[in-house]
């Protein structure tokens, strides 16, 4: 039974977590800012930067624990699993994304620089959750099945992982553009995109295995020990040139417009659109500022591939569990309901991305764009289909 005071506590914890994440995000961006260049073209964290970075990590972990408590109390208050409406989904998606960011991206792979962007994605997701707030309550009987618990938890895990994949893809495209432009300016002969360089780069001999795309962990790349700017083997071009090669106007403008239009289209809330648009503009600026400090595009691309390849089988399983559940609840395993169609569509696009990575003429930037489109498809399935399009999932009337 909904328990008022616990539900209230959960809401409070949610707000605390959101604010903590924002603080940690700012901390991580500070850490990006407090890096400096050495003569070898390597960025090293300044003492201040390292300290702020450490603090930001602590704050993020604390925020994550508070967030976890919020989700747990919500479940206890409602007397069911805490993922039954869009507010709760958005919250758990953020929880999963931050976990992937802290554990996989920062701890395992050592890309601490990127966690600020993951936190930003989490903050956006939680903000959208606030716009979709629903009181803690029971669910309709159709949702009361252990298959849907399996289905939705798998969907959310896959989505959280793929959010991180999207962050990496977007940054890799940015970095790749910067690398290309700098190379073009300095008149170097530029051998194709560095995105997906694992397959295309000049290093790969003509006869190299074509499915070499699973180039492993970015070796030798350490969190604070310094970031290879990607000029290691060539002459050292100023990393600041990478920033100068990108437009400081377009970077905040494009995400701001995209997010504003999206929020206006889905919620028709001008106030929220302005706030979200400003956050996006800030993020765009941060991305622009961070360009020199980002890992080389090829490594970001690899991170994107690995996260997506991790999320894809989970997504596949989630769709299957959903079909089994639909069979039990509605008497058909697949009915091309808009929600089903949407998740199938997203799945096909991610499969296309995996194919594109091993298709001649597609690997590199084009494959990265496929991943971007796939993520947009996920957002459309998640927000637009849920809120706009009538299907079986809007259950009113009969059962």
């Amino acid at each position: 039974m909904p328990n008022e005071s616990l539900a209230q506590l959960s809401n409070t914890l949610f707000s605390v977590a959101l604010i903590t994440y924002i603080a940690a995000m700012v901390g991580y961006f500070f850490r990006l800012g407090f890096t400096r260049f050495t003569s070898q073209g390597v960025v090293a964290g300044t003492a201040a930067g390292r300290r702020v970075g450490l603090l930001a990590t602590g704050v993020a972990v604390a925020g994550w624990l508070v967030h976890l408590a919020s989700v747990t109390t919500r479940g206890v208050a409602a007397g069911r699993v805490p993922w039954a409406n869009m507010y709760e989904y958005s919250s758990i998606l953020a929880l999963g994304a931050v976990a992937v960011g802290l554990v996989v991206v920062q701890r395992r792979l050592g890309y601490g620089h990127l966690v600020g962007f993951v936190l930003a994605a989490a903050v956006l997701s939680m903000t959208s959750g606030l716009l979709l707030f629903t009181e803690a309550g029971p669910v309709v009987p159709a949702l009361n099945s252990y298959w849907i618990k399996i289905h939705t938890s798998a969907m959310m895990t896959a989505s959280s992982v793929v959010i991180v994949g999207f962050v990496a893809t977007a940054l890799s495209l940015v970095k790749d553009t910067a690398e290309r432009r700098v190379a073009a300016r300095s008149g170097e002969s530029y051998v194709g995109s560095t995105v997906g360089a694992a397959q295309v780069g000049a290093a790969a001999p003509a006869g190299a295995a074509p499915d070499d795309r699973t180039e492993g962990r970015p070796d030798g790349y350490e969190a604070d020990a310094g970031v290879d700017i990607g000029a290691g083997d060539g002459e050292w071009a100023s990393p600041l040139a990478q920033r100068e090669a990108l437009s400081p106007v377009l970077f905040p403008l494009v995400p701001a417009v995209a997010v504003t239009v999206f929020v206006l289209a889905v919620w028709r809330a001008p106030g929220a659109a302005i706030v979200a648009g400003s956050v996006a503009a800030l993020l765009g600026t941060a991305a622009w500022y961070a360009v020199p400090f980002l890992p080389p595009a090829a490594k970001l691309d690899n991170l994107a591939y690995r996260t997506i390849a991790f999320g894809f089988p989970i997504w596949t399983f989630a769709i299957m569990a959903g079909a089994i559940w639909a069979e039990e609840a509605w008497g058909r395993y697949w009915g091309w309901d808009p929600k089903e169609t949407g998740s199938f569509f997203t799945w096909v696009l991610y499969a296309s991305y995996l194919h594109a990575r091993s298709t001649h003429g597609w690997r590199g930037r084009r494959a990265a764009w496929v991943a971007v489109v796939a993520f947009v498809a996920l957002l459309v399935t998640y927000y637009v289909v849920n809120l706009w399009i009538v299907g079986l999932h809007s259950y009113a009337g009969d059962i």
Binding site: P138, E328, V385, V390
Partner: protein
Amino acid sequence: MTGTVSPPKAPAPLPSGSRLPDIPGPLETLRIAWRRLRRMATALQLLFALAAASVVATVIPQEPVTAQSVEQWRSGVTGPGAGVARVLDELGLFDVFGSWWFAALTVGLVVSLTGCLLPRWRAFVRVARRPPAAGRNLERLSASTVLSCPLEPEQALRAAERVLGRRRFRRRRVGSQVAAERGHWREGGSLVFHTAFYLLLLGAVIGKVFGFAGSISLAEGGAFADTRIAYDAAQPGREFDLGDHRGFVARLDDFDVSYFPDFTPRDFRSTVTISEDGQRVRTADIRVNHPLRYRGMTLYQIGFGMAPHVVVRAGDQVLLDERVLLAPGGGSNLWAGTAKVKVRDPDSQIALDLALATDARLGDDGQPVLGPDPRPRNPVLVSSLYFGDLGLERPVPAADFDRGDGPVETAMLRPGKTAKLAQGSLTVEFRDLGYWSGLQVTHAPGRSILLAGAALLLVGLIPSLYSYRRRIWVEATPDGAGSRVTVAGVALQRKATFTDEFDAVVSALRDAVGSRPPPRPEAGSQPYSQPEPAPSPERSP
């Protein structure tokens, strides 16, 4: 892999003097088409087309799912207008997944998949059967290290076999070498994954052709026999004949719905007794998410409503005596429906519009006040009488009769009460209140094939994404009292991961042969930056 298939060769030059254009013959055309289909780029384009089709199906309402919205689009009430809707209809966009072009797309994918898989399977079987090959120039491989070992070469090689065996490498002795390899499941898994699509397709087609789905609404106490005519709506597959119905009788003994305190429904439960040839076979509850399976048919709970028992009499003659099924009438506490009382004789037809409120207390002024409770604790039935030429004989839904000037008279009834209408010539009795339950009955063959396909899909996908091909060679040559052991390896994918694995193998081997650690492991942990020399690892085409 298919990306590396060589482009089709240009047809042989025509003899000089010929004026024929450069058109390949039919056989050559087929061969070119087949080669094209086998290319990864073709598969990618087909996948994009599939994605595009599902975008369309998400944005445009689909007839099999939301028929009402489609009607509204067609009539121009909503959507982009009737003209556009006609074009969409022409293109089959209101039923994307049933349209001819989607079928063509599926066929294209299947053909492409086949063209892709056949050569891959052949190559995979060939490669997987071939024992690991001997390596040459081991020291020039980038992952390569030399140990000096106190054991004789034979013993060192045996130790190497054990170490590699523990790590589940396939091993073979070739002269003074142990050649080992692992990771065929990368390609094997991918093949299993793609092949599983045939099972999914087969299961879906079987379900479509031999399956059946029908729905029926039963008032409490009502029964139906599993025959085609009994269903309110039926979608039989092409090969599901009248004789395929099981003929059992299902009776709704009881229906029950429970609510949470905020009146959202908690559970729906139909208690159903199944009998065959008059013999009771089984009584079971059907709940949402808990269907009843019986002789290959599955009964699902899909809807419910209120069913007041209404009796209409004209003098002694009983005109109507049945439970009338009411549909949701706005909110969970209001229900509405229609009863055709007398259809014959177009001039004196009789119909009742029924409206039921589940929670209607009497206010101080004697008028009913509606409450929010969906449970029929305090129900009132409002019945409006229509008389005359109502068009009841037309084959349209009961609710669509001709209401003309409105009802003749309206009465408000509590359960067990009777009202006299039309100057006492008709009586309407609200005898009691029950529920009706909406059941769906489905026969879905091919389910197990689908499930097997889904399982294979997952089982194949995981190694195809995470496993990787690699080879390791251990060569031992006599060296004084002991031997000189060369360890070398190469990986086709995930080279950084392999570097770690290689180091682990070397250190395990060193422990196993009792070798002194070398001054500095120079090789073995180098990044794979430069092209690898021989041996050229064979690839599947």
